[in-house]
Symmetry: C2
Subunit: 333 residues, 2 copies
C-alpha cells in the first residue's frame, strides 16, 4: 500500500476496497426508494440519502461478509437494509428533536413537513423489511428484527431518561446501543451470518460492531464538552444546552455532593440555565475527572473492538476494521 | 345456533368462536408490549390497544388459519403481529392528522406528545417484525413485509393525493388498499399460508380480505356524506371539511362541468370553504348520482368477498366471514 493510501481515513480505504459492492448497494437503494405513485417518497429519501453520509453501516455489512469469504449476492441487500433503517431513524429523530439542520443542510421536516418525515420513515422501515426477507435466511432476520426493536426501545428510553438524573451508566449503555451500537453490531453480525461464518467469527464480528458503536457514541459525548467547533461540526456545549444526560455528566452526577447535585437538578432536570452555567458544568466535570474517565471508556471500547477482530483470519479488511476502531477514538486519544 | 346468537354481530360471533385463541393473542400482546426500562412504551400502547377496538384484524388471521384446519401455535403470533402493525399505524396517523380523539378518547399524541407517538409506533413496528419472524415461515414474511410497504406507500400517497383533483379511482384504490385492505388481506392470506392451505384456498382468503377491506373503507366514505352522526360516530361532512377527496367526490369531479369543477377546486384543493358549501357539495353528489354509485361499489366489493369464500370448504367460520362481509355494507345497503 502506498504512502498516499496509508494516510487515507479507514472508512475511505474501506470505501475504495469495497467500491464495486458499494456501487451495487447504491443502485439497489435508488431502485428500492422509488415509488411510482408517491413521488414524495424518493424526494424526501434522496434529500437525506444523497447528502453525503459516510455509508458506514452498509460498509460494515459488506466488510464483514467479504472478510468471511462471502461470494453470493445478498450482502448487498443487507447493506441496503441497514442504510434504510438508519435513514428512517434519522427522519423520525429529526421530527422528535425538532431539528432544523443535519449534515449542514435543512432537515426534511423543515423542507417538507413532519407528516412526510414520519410517513416516509415508515415507508423506509417497511422497505428495509422487504429487503431483509429476500435472502431467505432466518438467522439474519432474527438479528435485524431484534436490532430494530433495540433501536426503537433505546429511542423511547432516551425520551424519558435523557433529563432524569437517576439515569445511570447501565441505562446510558442501553440508550447508546439503541442509538448506534445495535445497528452497527447487527450490520457486522448479519454480514458474517450470510457468509456462513463459524460461530466464533460471527460472535467476533458482532462484538466488534457493538464495541465500535459504543466507542463512536462516547467520543461524541466527550467532544461536546471537550472538542472544538471545527472538529465536532457543532458547538461546544450543545448537549448541555439541550439538557442531555451524557456520559461525562452521568459520571459527575454520581460523584456529586449535595450542592453540585442541586446544580445538575436545576440545569438538566429543570432546564433553568443561566449565564456561566456551562462554565460551572465544565468545572464540575474537571473536578471529578469525568471527561478523563469518559475518554478512557471510549478507548476501552475501541480496544475491545480491536481485540474481538483477533478471532478472525488475517485479511486486509480486518486491518481496515481495526484501523477504523482507532480512527473513531483518535479525536479524543 | 340459537336465536340470540343469530342476532349477534358477525365479529362478536367470531370473537366467541375464537375466544380461546383471542385470549392467547391478548396475552401475547401484553407480553410483547412490555419494556423493562421504558415504561412509556406499555403506557402509550395500552391506552390504544385496550381502548375497545374490535380486534378485527387478529380475528381475521385466526379465522383464516382455523378455517384451513391449522392446529399449530403460530397463528397467535401472526394475529398479534397484525394488531401491532395496526396500532403503530394509528399512532402515526394521529400525529400526521393532528387528531385529538380516537374511539371517543383523547389520542396518545394529545395525552403524551408527538414524540412518544412516533417512537412508540416505531417500537411496535419493530416488535411486529420480531413476532412475524418467529414462525420461521418465509412466505408469511413475504406477505407481511409486502403489506407493510403497501400500507406505508398508501399513507404517503394519501398525503399528496387527498387534496389533488387529479386523483382518480385507480389512485383512490391504492390509497384504500394502503389504509385498510392491505392489512386485511395480509391477515387472511398469512392465516391460510401458516395453515398450509392449498394455493386456491390461499388466493380465496387473500381476495376475501382485500375485498372486505375495500368495502369497509368505501362504506366509510358514503356514510360521511349520507349517514347520521349516531351511526358513523363522527359528524356528517367531516371528510368535506377536512378536504378529503373520497370516492363520492372523485366520482362527482369526474362528471363535473366547468362551473362544478371550479367549485371543487375552491373547496377541496384551495380549502376555501364558506357557509352553504357542504349543502352545495351534497347537491352535486346527488346530481351525478355519486353517492348511489359509491354505494353500489361497496356492495360490489362485499359480494366479491363472499364469492371468494366459495372456494373454501363449508365451515362455521366460512359462514361468519360471509356474514361479516354483509354486515360491513349493511349500513349503506
Amino acid at each position: 500500500m502506498g504512502k498516499m493510501e496509508a494516510r487515507q481515513a479507514p472508512h475511505d480505504r474501506l470505501g475504495s476496497y469495497l467500491s464495486a459492492d458499494m456501487d451495487a448497494v447504491n443502485a439497489l437503494i435508488r431502485e428500492r426508494m422509488a415509488s411510482e405513485h408517491a413521488p414524495r417518497i424518493p424526494e424526501v429519501t434522496a434529500h437525506l440519502i444523497e447528502a453525503g453520509g459516510k455509508r458506514l453501516r452498509p460498509m460494515l455489512v459488506l466488510a464483514a461478509a467479504r472478510l468471511c469469504g462471502y461470494g453470493g449476492p445478498y450482502h448487498v441487500h443487507l447493506a441496503a437494509t441497514v442504510e434504510f433503517i438508519h435513514t428512517a431513524t434519522l427522519l423520525h429523530d429529526d421530527v422528535v428533536d425538532e431539528s432544523r439542520q443535519r449534515r449542514g443542510r435543512p432537515t426534511a421536516n423543515l423542507l417538507w413537513d413532519n407528516k412526510s418525515s414520519v410517513l416516509v420513515g415508515d415507508y423506509l422501515f417497511a422497505r428495509s423489511f422487504q429487503l431483509m426477507v429476500e435472502p431467505g435466511n432466518m438467522r439474519v432476520l432474527d438479528i435485524l428484527a431484534n436490532a430494530s426493536a433495540t433501536i426503537a426501545e433505546g429511542e423511547v428510553l432516551q425520551l424519558t431518561a435523557a433529563q432524569d438524573l437517576r439515569t445511570d451508566e447501565g441505562i446510558y449503555l442501553k440508550v447508546v446501543r439503541g442509538k448506534t451500537a445495535a445497528l452497527f453490531s447487527a450490520a457486522t453480525e448479519a454480514g458474517a451470518v450470510i457468509a456462513g461464518a463459524s460461530a466464533a467469527e460471527v460472535e467476533a464480528l458482532r462484538t466488534y460492531g457493538d464495541a465500535l458503536g459504543i466507542a463512536f457514541q462516547i467520543v461524541d459525548d466527550v467532544l461536546d464538552y471537550g472538542g472544538t467547533s471545527a472538529v465536532i461540526g457543532k458547538n461546544v456545549g450543545d448537549d448541555f444546552r439541550e439538557r442531555k444526560l451524557t456520559l461525562p455528566v452521568i459520571k459527575a452526577v454520581a460523584a456529586a455532593d449535595a450542592a453540585e447535585r442541586a446544580f445538575w437538578v436545576r440545569v438538566i432536570e429543570k432546564g433553568q440555565q443561566a449565564e456561566g452555567d456551562l462554565e460551572q458544568a465544565m468545572a464540575l466535570l474537571a473536578r471529578h475527572g469525568a471527561l478523563e474517565a469518559t475518554r478512557a471508556e471510549a478507548l476501552f471500547w475501541a480496544a475491545k473492538a480491536k481485540t474481538a477482530l483477533m478471532a478472525l483470519p488475517g485479511h486486509e479488511l480486518r486491518e481496515m476494521l481495526a484501523d477504523l476502531a482507532d480512527y473513531v477514538v483518535a479525536r479524543v486519544a
